[in-house]
Amino acid sequence: MKKVITGDHAVAIGAKLCRVEVVPAYPITPQTLIIEHIADFVNDGELDAKFLTMESEHSVMSAAAAASAAGARVFTATSSQGLAFMHEMLYATAPLRLPIVMPDASRTLGGPPGIWCEYNDSMGARDSGWLQLYVEDNQEALDMVIQSFRIAEDKRVLLPVMPCLDGFVLTHTVEPVDVPQQEEIDSFLPPYEPDIILDTARPAMIGTFMPPEYIMEMRRQTAGAVESSKEVIQEINSKFAKKFGRDYGGLIDTYRMDDAEIALITMGTVTSTSREVVDELRQKGEKVGLIKLRFFRPFPSRELKKAVSKLSALGVFDRSISYHGGGQVYNEVRSALFGMTIPVINHLAGLGGRDVTKEQIMKMFELTRKAAKGEKVNEINWHDTRGETV
């Protein structure tokens, strides 16, 4: 059924369709609508879930961990300062292999305080063991909540997943979304059946103290789970595409890359706008393409290497800065492409929610083109930043 809804609404409907059982929540702009919709569903009897209003985000993640360890399908959502506040508990949930799904409404992490879109909130969680993905429209936001549960609960993975959707640009934007039927989701996503849970009838210990003789193995195991999630993500993408007719490409998606000479790597809604820019440049005869980085964790090094193999230069868009030079995506990409000789340059734009316009994206392609020709260009380019020349 087609509905004209916000990204937050789409995410909440996704959670409802997944029949989530426990939702500990704390509201924060621009995630608030997700929680409000879930509260409505529970109140109206549309969703049979325990809705817990917690006193802080730290408590949200603590409750989520406990409920998940008790065998429930757990959903929550957060943003920015809220995600930062639950940071300690993020690190607890992944190695304990608790398949919680928590969308992050991407928002700048202060200071300076702000409410608009930036990825410096979720980037801080990149080493927590959570899987992390970025969506470009409301349809993908809904679909990825569903896929996230299936990925998270796969026995080869058992890790929490964080789908990130751009604050306001998606969370508060309405667009048509095809809402799947409950039966379709029920047949796609089986109930969560963990092997070990906290149950007084079958006593278990979860999250206990571990001295040095165990931790290396724990870390190795978690790293292995993140690695094997790559295969699972691709597999579930294919199954989803087959059932619902929407193929997102899995770890990455590519657009008009077949004979592309240069390309941009983008995440989130900038991908969507960039598709139009690519079309416009292609119309002028420029051989440009687009690589959409869907998953940041696991990082699709192999897939990227393959996608860029025929390019003569690559531009990497970042919506956050790592304060040692470039953005986090840029550094991961360069590391992944180590040994390849094409120029790779960084395009920082849209930090703090500044609108990333088509003109800026054109400029990104233009600079990448210069790099391809061997002309001198900056390695790190701050777009639409007063005092900087790009």
Partner: protein
């Protein structure tokens, strides 16, 4: 909500539409921006709209301070909530303009100065992008869902009434509106840590006290009028005013409201224990 309702109506007609607000320090009545894109095929652009085909202005007091048509395409149209006819409105250039007195329609039908549904009716008339019937339907559904069936129907009626009363013509183009100045430092000029002390720039004051330049009287639909005879000088209004616009004149034992900064919220009238404050229409 108006932008969303419009998007829904367009989608129900078989089009694709995207609508989004730009969030600032929003509250009902404060100037806000919202955008809607409508196309026959899927829309990928996720940026704000800089060159619209139509600009809808819900508050004509903005015309004095903002060049609302600066980005409007030459063949575009401005739809303005105003009691004036298009030819009596000076937009700084002669351009297609539609006007409707949406605030009167809203006050009459909705009993509240909320113009967003009425103005949608004017939009439908001025552009023909959506049918008025589709709008009525999505207003009834969207507003009805949130605020009850009756409210939904009243809002649909407001849209229909505005649709019928909209006048289409051309604006005048006499006055010269200066682009609004804004302090935009480079990263080198930005004070360390963004910390500001009282300062003056070409674009006006910055730092503590700079909001004195930010007159908000235009936000007010109603303004408080105090009856000196009834007032017992209890000072509750002075205490409760969220903007500190009520001043004590100690030597006269009197109060004065600075209407430049009064947003017309009505808190003072609500708190007055002797009903000495009445809210009256600020503009017609």
């Amino acid at each position: 909500m108006a932008a969303q309702t419009l998007a829904e109506a367009a989608v129900n007609e078989g089009n694709y539409a995207v609508a989004f607000p730009f969030f600032g320090a929003e509250r009902r009545g404060a100037p806000v921006l919202a955008f809607t894109r409508i196309d026959s095929k899927k829309i990928f652009s996720k940026t704000q709209v800089y060159n619209p085909d139509c600009v809808v202005v819900l508050d004509d007091s903005l015309l004095d301070t903002i060049d609302v048509v600066s980005g409007l395409k030459p063949e575009g149209i401005a739809v303005i909530n105003s009691k004036e006819r298009p030819e009596d409105i000076d937009l700084g250039k002669i351009i297609n303009t539609a006007t409707v007195n949406a605030i009167s329609i809203a006050l009459e039908i909705l009993k509240a100065p909320i113009t967003n549904t009425a103005i949608l009716g004017a939009f439908a008339k001025a552009t023909g992008v959506v049918k008025i019937e589709s709008l009525e339907e999505s207003i009834k559904r969207k507003f009805g869902e949130k605020l009850g069936e009756k409210t939904g129907e009243r809002n649909a009626l407001a849209a229909r009434t505005a649709y019928e009363k909209t006048i289409i013509g051309k604006s005048r183009g006499i006055k010269k509106l200066e682009a609004r100045k804004q302090w935009l430092p480079t990263y080198q000029e930005m004070p360390v840590g963004g910390s500001l002390i009282e300062g003056k720039t070409d674009a006006g004051l910055i730092g503590p006290g700079s909001f004195i330049e930010n007159k908000v009287s235009g936000w007010a639909t109603y303004r408080p009028l105090r009856d000196r005879e009834k007032c017992v000088m209890c000072l509750l209004c002075w205490f409760y005013c969220p903007e500190g616009t009520i001043h004590r004149i100690s030597n006269r034992g009197d109060l004065m409201t600075n209407y430049d900064y009064c947003k017309g919220c009505g808190v003072c009238a609500n708190e007055c224990p002797v009903d000495a404050i009445k809210m009256v229409r600020a503009r017609v």
